[in-house]
């Protein structure tokens, strides 16, 4: 019964956050004198098949980004560096795949492994700094983001092949045989382009793996225990330094996947216009999805939906589509607040339930000090 209630409340929190975010966005629209009704009507209509494919594709990318952030969140680490990690990883993946040392899908696999390894190493720098020198991973990953921007820009110039008649530069194109084909969406009258990345399957696989590792393995248990209480983790025999480095590397490895759906399914090379900023969206998505693999998927779909549906706003109703960025940012804040409210409600409820169960004995200690324990609001 409690579990049902917990689940219900678990849904209530993000719902609350969404409502608040929509309300605030509407207020902004109203005060700017924009047509609120039309904007929402445009955004909230049922997407066309073509848009649906875009939504799924974008959600696939966002999902991986959210997963990468969530891995670290579970250990109370804040990987702000997914952005830098995925870009440098996608670049290396593109170079490896473009060189095509191996035939066909072997080449693809090698490129994916290389990308994950690079992501892991890049994030590992922050992990090592944190574990050995006590440097906050927040600051170090921010710095690493900028460093990776410069490094990639430099390497790109070194490794670039200039496309003829264009002033964008990029890596060598991935050979046909190593690309990941699209999956036709289940619509009957699908025209050209109405297909989703084959990488979606890999993303789902990543989600299942994440779930299994976190909730069923000792590694996942150690990771979550360390995230909740380093002191208890140390006392229980967990090597916290090792876990810190491993978790950052794992988070980076997943981050290494983020750019690959685009690389293998659409762009086929890494160029100066490769999509950036996906890492920060991942933070929002992991928060909204509460680090839960299904929750992250729903959050990713929602964000992708908002982005795709807002695209034509400028043309149709003359409102800048960036308005949804406000919605997304506000969601991050409201979701954290509403989860906290729900969590406190649940704790109080459990406490009174327990108090009833232990009635004959002494009642519970006043819960005050326990409530103010550290690390409670993240995630």
């Amino acid at each position: 019964m409690t579990r049902v209630l917990r689940a219900l409340l678990g849904l209530l929190a993000p719902l609350l956050a969404l409502v608040a975010a929509f309300a605030i966005t509407s207020l902004v629209l109203i005060s700017a004198g924009d047509p609120v009704g039309e904007v929402w009507a445009e955004i909230l209509q049922v997407p066309e098949t073509r848009n649906l494919a875009n939504i799924v594709n974008q959600a696939c990318v966002l999902y991986l980004s959210g997963l990468a952030v969530a891995v670290a969140f579970r250990m109370n680490l804040f990987n702000i560096g997914v952005d830098g990690q995925y870009r440098i990883a996608a670049f290396v993946g593109a170079v490896v795949a473009g060189e095509a040392w191996l035939p066909g899908y072997l080449n693809t696999a090698l490129a994916i492994v290389c990308a994950m390894a690079v992501g892991a190493l890049w994030a590992g720098i922050a992990g090592v700094l944190r574990a050995t020198r006590g440097v906050s991973e927040v600051i170090s990953t921010i710095m690493l983001n900028f460093i990776s921007t410069s490094v990639v820009a430099y390497l790109l110039r070194e490794a670039a092949v200039r496309e003829e008649g264009s002033n964008t530069i990029g890596t060598k194109e991935i050979p046909e045989g190593s690309r990941i084909g699209s999956i036709p969406l289940a619509a009957a009258d699908s025209g050209p382009g109405v297909e989703v990345y084959g990488f979606v399957v890999l993303a789902i696989l990543a989600g299942v793996t994440y779930w299994f590792v976190m909730s069923r393995t000792r590694f996942g248990f150690d990771l979550r225990a360390t995230g909740q209480s380093t002191t208890a983790a140390v006392a229980s025999g967990i090597n916290v330094r090792r876990m810190t480095i491993l978790t950052m590397m794992l988070s980076g490895a997943v981050a290494g996947l983020v750019g690959l759906p685009i690389l293998f399914g659409e762009a086929y090379s890494y160029g100066s216009t490769f999509q950036s900023g996906l890492g920060f969206a991942g933070i929002a998505i992991a928060l909204l999805g509460r680090n839960n693999p299904v929750g992250i998927a729903l959050a990713a779909l929602l964000f992708a939906f908002l982005e795709e549906q807002s695209n034509p706003l400028q043309i149709l109703v003359g409102v800048s589509p960036e308005i949804v960025a406000i919605t997304q940012g506000v969601i991050v804040l409201t979701v954290v607040i509403s989860y906290e409210v729900v969590r406190r409600f649940l704790t109080r409820r459990e406490q009174s339930r327990v108090a009833r169960a232990e009635r004959p004995a002494e009642p519970a200690e006043p819960a005050g000090p326990a409530e103010t324990q550290d690390q409670e609001t993240r995630a």
């Binding site: 902004v28 700017a32 924009d34 804040f78 702000i80 700094l129 944190r130 574990a131 020198r133 006590g134 440097v135 906050s136 927040v138 600051i139 170090s140 921010i142 710095m143 690493l144 900028f146 460093i147 921007t149 410069s150 490094v151 820009a153 430099y154 110039r157 380093t230 140390v234 916290v240 330094r241 810190t244 920060f280 933070i283 929002a284 928060l287 400028q314 409102v319 800048s320 960036e322 308005i323 949804v324 960025a325 406000i326 997304q328 940012g329 506000v330 991050v332 804040l333 954290v336 607040i337 906290e340 103010t372 550290d374 609001t377 993240r378």
Partner: protein, 422 residues
């Protein structure tokens, strides 16, 4: 978030034998003088003669101010115990504020507008972190997302269809007045041209200060001094800093912790907004999308580099502003010359560490120094990409190798709830 945390150390060992915090002013003069002398020497050895030209100094001043103001914003918030990753977002708000208000009402209202919009960002951060107890990093990230979207939305709303403007930029806006002493400047220019060791460099710096000096630069520098005075010399500042060091202690003595944190974050937002305004009005002449280019984060880095002290962050911002400037002006050659300096300094530091029998650090620093030296010898120019990442690399190195010497506010980044005292 805390910048320096040790997840496992059971009891922190107090670093006892550290020197007094207040360094006499002459240390600063000596340091600056020494630095100029080094650069002067370097110019002569390497022939990179743009290292200290008046043009470079002037541009450095312009490049330094936004970083410094952002860092100052970070300082106010963090001294009160609130980490402000949202500086970048507040700066973005500031650029738009300057663009919009300066275009509509003139430069001084533009300055006020940039501060006001930055404070709006600060208000959101204060509400989230202080009132609702949201994790400071999460709130900061959210503000950066919101600010970026909001400014793009607002710019498209206000500047579209305006002559000279568009969804991504405002029309040209006026600058605040500048001060010039042409006569003095010419005399100094003559001295600069004499190419006397040290003297001509000093003249170049002085010339930059008397030629087309924006009033906003003066105001910004005054704000550093003002910050020091307010935070370290008044009761208000003491209370504010106490909130960042030990909010429970402050509250047990009747300090309204929440109110001080709130005010500090508001001021932080205002300063970050002004940093954005500076970018739009002085460093450039209109609002443009993406104008901040991560300078909010560089400001954060400068604040850490400066060990959460006004003087330190000024030095950090100056260093970062200087590398930025060199990168833009004949970047390759000048920065290459700097590599020689870095290499020699690193090797000297390594030798010093050996004498203090700190062999691990010495080895690492020596290898870095040698590697930098090798790079200096093997290339003609440093690619601009590497110049751009210098501030971030420096900050990482400082954090990695000098974190014991850094002293952030003890309760920085912790969510405080009222009534935790006692």
């Amino acid at each position: 978030m805390s910048v320096v945390t040790d997840p496992v150390a059971p009891t922190p060992a107090p670093a006892s034998s550290r020197g007094r915090r207040l360094r006499p002013a002459y240390w600063w003069l000596l340091g600056i003088g020494g630095f100029i002398a080094l650069l002067s020497l370097l110019e002569r050895v390497t022939g990179a003669d743009d290292l200290t030209s008046a043009g470079t100094v002037g541009a450095t001043l312009i490049a330094t101010m936004p970083i410094m103001l952002a860092a100052l914003g970070g300082l106010w918030a963090e001294r009160a115990g609130v980490v402000n990753i949202g500086l970048e977002g507040m700066m973005i708000l500031g650029t738009f504020g300057a663009g919009f208000f300066a275009f509509t009402y003139g430069p001084w209202i533009g300055v006020a507008g940039s501060v006001a919009l930055g404070m709006v960002g600060g208000l959101v951060h204060a509400l989230a972190t202080v009132v609702f107890g949201v994790d400071h990093i999460i709130s900061g990230v959210a503000i950066n997302i919101i600010a970026l979207g909001a400014v793009q939305y607002l710019a498209s709303l206000t500047f579209s269809g305006v002559e000279g403007g568009g969804p991504t930029q405002s029309p040209k806006i006026g600058d605040v007045p500048t001060i010039s002493f042409p006569a003095l400047g010419d005399r100094l220019g003559e001295i600069e041209d004499t190419n006397w060791f040290f003297v001509s460099e000093l003249a170049a710096i002085a010339r930059a200060l008397v030629t087309n000096l924006s009033v906003l630069v003066l105001i910004s520098l005054a704000l550093v001094v003002l910050t020091y005075v307010v935070l370290w010399r008044t009761a208000f500042g003491l209370r504010l800093r106490a909130c960042g060091e030990s909010p429970a202690a402050a509250e047990s003595l009747g300090v309204a912790v929440m109110r001080y944190k709130f005010v500090a974050v508001l001021i932080s937002g205002g300063l970050a907004g002004l940093a954005g305004g500076f970018l739009a009005m002085v460093a450039s002449s209109n609002y443009r999308e993406g104008q901040t280019g991560g300078r909010g984060y560089i400001g954060l880095a400068a604040m850490i580099f400066g060990n959460w002290r006004p003087g330190g962050l000024l030095a950090g911002s100056g260093l970062f502003g200087y590398t930025e400037t060199l990168g833009l002006r004949q970047g390759g050659t000048s920065v290459r010359a700097l590599l020689l300096l870095v290499s020699l300094l690193a090797i000297a530091f390594a030798i010093w560490q050996v004498r203090r029998s700190n062999f691990t650090t010495a080895t690492v620093v020596f290898i870095i120094g040698a590697a930098v030296g090798a790079v200096y010898l093997s290339i003609d120019q440093v690619p601009g990409d590497f110049t751009r990442m210098t501030p971030y690399v420096i900050t990482l190195l400082v954090l990695a190798f000098a974190s014991q010497r850094l002293r952030m506010p003890a309760a920085d980044g912790q969510v405080y709830r009222k009534g935790s005292a006692g």
